[in-house]
């Protein structure tokens, strides 16, 4: 069991490191095509990463070790999330639970590391980005917790792999009102957490409206490469989690080569479809005013709360 779980963790992290830059490439390409552009190709994020790793890493005057450590912590926490979330298979270590509270706390670790990177250089935009980032994180984490909690009540376990296994065993539960409400709430929270439209504009050049981009303004070279890869991994893992909960088929129940191969293919397919759909949807959206964002997130929290209430009221057939 332990060896199997170890193999699965290595496979999941390796696959996500390869796939998440491609996911970002697909999303940029879809957006470019809808804007009438030719697009840079899906491999462009990989080219950007390779170039950043070959560049000099500059430290602004007055920065501390946080500037170098933060990106590594973000990358590590994102890789840990990729290892914990059931993306390719549901086999887990007996002693390391893939509990939703563990996943959310690991996510928060990366969030705090990123906010510290934004603060460290002492520039106005970095501090503004960090403050906005933490505001949104504080509004998003309860929604993530409550929505997955709603999904965990019918299963009787807050382990994500147990939830996914139960959904494979009983596909009818996916279309239940509890599940749908919770998934909608979780999707809005994921969009806010990963800095997508309508909460943050990932391709903006306007410093005053930035959230994620403002925090990384002072990072360069290798540090920037880790920050970018960490954010992409986080986007991939969270979209993958939504995919695993919405369409749990193809996820390997045991660790064998054919099952893992099917799991990896299914993951690539799900991420591709969700990413392309999200990018297409973003074309039609404008960024929300910052002071409207709490309203959106409060709405998603209400949905998650209704899901929890419903899960106690609706008897699962």
């Amino acid at each position: 069991m332990n060896a199997g779980a170890l193999v699965l963790v290595v496979v999941q992290v390796a696959v996500m490191v390869v796939l998440s830059p491609l996911l970002v490439g697909v999303m940029r390409q879809v957006r470019a095509r809808m804007e009438g552009r030719a697009g840079a190709g899906v491999l462009q994020p990989w080219r950007d990463l390779r170039k950043l790793l070959g560049k000099e890493t500059l430290q602004a005057d007055g920065t501390s070790w946080v500037m170098a450590a933060g990106p590594v912590v973000l990358l590590g926490s994102s890789a840990l999330v990729c290892a914990l979330v059931p993306l390719v298979g549901t086999t887990t270590f007996p002693l390391v639970p893939d509990d939703l509270f563990v996943v959310v706390s690991v996510l928060l670790l990366g969030t705090v590391a990123l906010a510290l990177v934004g603060l460290d250089a002492g520039s106005a935009f970095g501090g503004m980005g960090s403050s906005r980032h933490m505001t949104i994180a504080a509004l998003v984490e309860p929604t993530v917790l409550v929505s997955v909690y709603a999904l965990s009540i019918p299963v009787g376990s807050s382990a994500l792999s147990a939830i996914v296994e139960a959904r494979i065993a009983d596909p009818a539960s996916i279309a239940s009102p509890v599940s749908l409400l919770a998934l909608v709430a979780l999707s809005v929270a994921v969009l806010a957490e990963t800095g997508r439209m309508p909460v943050d504009n990932p391709s903006t050049h306007l410093e005053l409206t930035m959230i994620h981009e403002a925090m990384v303004l002072e990072s360069s070279g290798r540090d920037l490469a880790w920050l970018e890869l960490g954010s992409w991994l986080r986007l991939g893992a969270l979209l993958g989690l939504v995919g695993s909960l919405l369409v749990p088929w193809g996820i390997a129940g045991d660790v064998t080569v054919p099952a893992l191969a099917v799991g990896v293919l299914a993951l690539a397919l799900k991420l591709g479809v969700i990413g392309a759909g999200l990018a297409a949807g973003e074309v039609f959206l404008a960024k929300l005013r910052l002071f409207r964002v709490p309203e959106l997130l409060a709405g998603s929290f209400v949905l998650a709360f209704l899901a929890v209430t419903a899960s106690y009221l609706v008897v699962q057939g």
């Binding site: 030719a38 840079a40 080219r47 070959g54 990384v216 070279g221």
Partner: protein
């Protein structure tokens, strides 16, 4: 515009990017590390904004410099190319120097437009500190007043090699 109107517009417009012209020869002394991916920081050192319109067009859908791997970024720390337009005014000489210093190596400085190359129409004016090469080392120049977007894209392609 309504959602359906926007969907119809996207469908009827299709692709507006023009076919790619033949690939230019790579610039001499181009750092190999920049192949395929170039982040561009644009500095307006005192331009009349004619060149800015052309730079915006070069990154717009029709000329689409992004398809060759060039992208505008918000910070010189992220950049590989500092793209300078306009004559360098006294007030912008020091910010320009600092921007280039804040750009991690390997980096290139591209002077766009006649003003950036040799002060153009503003030569000898009282606020002018000089052309871009008087303030920082220039690796590549683009002629024209203003230069056509094609010329700007061609210069960036000489750096990306795509």
């Amino acid at each position: 515009m309504s959602l359906i109107g926007l969907v119809r517009l996207i469908r009827t417009t299709g692709r507006v990017a023009e076919p790619a012209p033949p690939r230019p020869d790579p610039a001499p002394g181009r750092p190999a590390a920049l192949a395929g991916s170039v982040q561009v920081r644009h500095v307006d050192a005192g331009s009349c904004n004619g060149c800015e319109v052309e730079v915006a067009a070069a990154f717009g859908p029709v000329y689409d410099a992004e398809r060759y791997g060039a992208r505008l970024v918000a910070s010189p720390r992220h950049a590989d190319v500092v793209l300078v337009t306009g004559v360098v005014t006294h007030n912008m000489a020091e910010p320009l120097r600092r921007t280039v210093d804040a750009t991690p190596r390997p980096r290139m400085v591209v002077a766009v437009g006649d003003c950036a190359r040799d002060c153009g129409a503003f030569a000898g004016a009282h606020g002018v500190a000089g052309a871009v090469h008087d303030v920082v080392d220039v690796d590549l120049e683009v002629r024209g007043c203003p230069p056509e977007p094609d010329a700007i894209v061609a210069a960036l392609r000489q750096v990306t090699g795509r």
